[in-house]
């Protein structure tokens, strides 16, 4: 009986192991920022797996928008929680974005690249 239980526990692992290290995808954007502005960025998280996924965190790293406009002008509050995403479905998380009141003149109409990183567990 114990042998059977151990095999059942290992089964989900062996199923996903065949697919290799698939990552889930995140995408999002926000516009209309100005010095001192606070906006909500909608980030779409896609679950490519055949099993439900529980999203634990999303972080955003903001890059430089120009020679005189660094990414430090934009702050993005990360997501921390437990958001369930059904298999092969997508969900939206909202991240608070703030532009520094001291943002340089060169940041007008600037487009800051953002890289998202997320962590989740498959259930």
């Amino acid at each position: 009986m114990l042998v059977v239980l151990a095999m059942l526990a290992a089964l989900p692992a062996s199923v996903d192991a065949r697919r290799g290290p698939v990552k889930f995808r995140l995408s999002g954007s926000v516009e209309g920022l100005y010095p001192g502005a606070r906006r909500t960025m909608r980030v779409t998280v896609r679950n490519p797996f055949a099993r439900p996924m529980r999203l634990l965190s999303v972080q955003a790293a903001v890059g430089r928008a120009g020679r005189s406009c660094s990414g430090s002008n934009i702050a993005v509050r990360p997501f921390r929680g437990r958001l369930r995403i059904p298999a092969r479905r997508r969900r939206v998380v909202r991240l608070l974005v703030a532009m520094a009141p001291t943002a340089a003149e060169e940041c007008k109409r600037a487009r800051f690249p953002v890289r998202f990183r997320g962590r989740a567990v498959l259930r």
Binding site: A10, P12, E31, L122
Partner: protein, 162 residues
Amino acid sequence: MWRSHRLPKKLLIIGAVLVIGTAIAGIAIGAWSVSGSGTGYAKASTASAVTLSDASASTTADLYPGASGAVKLKVSNPNPFPVRITAVSGNGAITSDKGASCDASTGVSFANQSSLTLDLLANETNKVFTLAGAVSMSNASDNACQGAVFSVPVSVTAISNA
């Protein structure tokens, strides 16, 4: 009777421990950690210039040679966010409504203003600020300037006040 039951009880406890341990191991394996990545952008808007309603400031007090007075500043903020005017500077020749003879020698000068905290709401129009003591008249003022209203071209520096 009792002796015959001791051995199976021990086995049951050991078995239960093994089952629980296996179940915990199963949970740990079942909840696989995965990571995700992606890209996006954050875009800043442009800012529109704060506008002066009549493209100039005007004197409000009765000026006479040797006196100083206030300047009335009527401004609008076309931006969707509040702004703060921090400086007002003279931006050209001061003129009057008395014609060329007065304009040739108004004797009126504008003192640049800095470290101001004149706040405008988002999309606020025609707000009037009074800059006390910002203009003065010297003895160089022509006689034709008596009773004149002076226009003072200025430029305004404002920052986001969100």
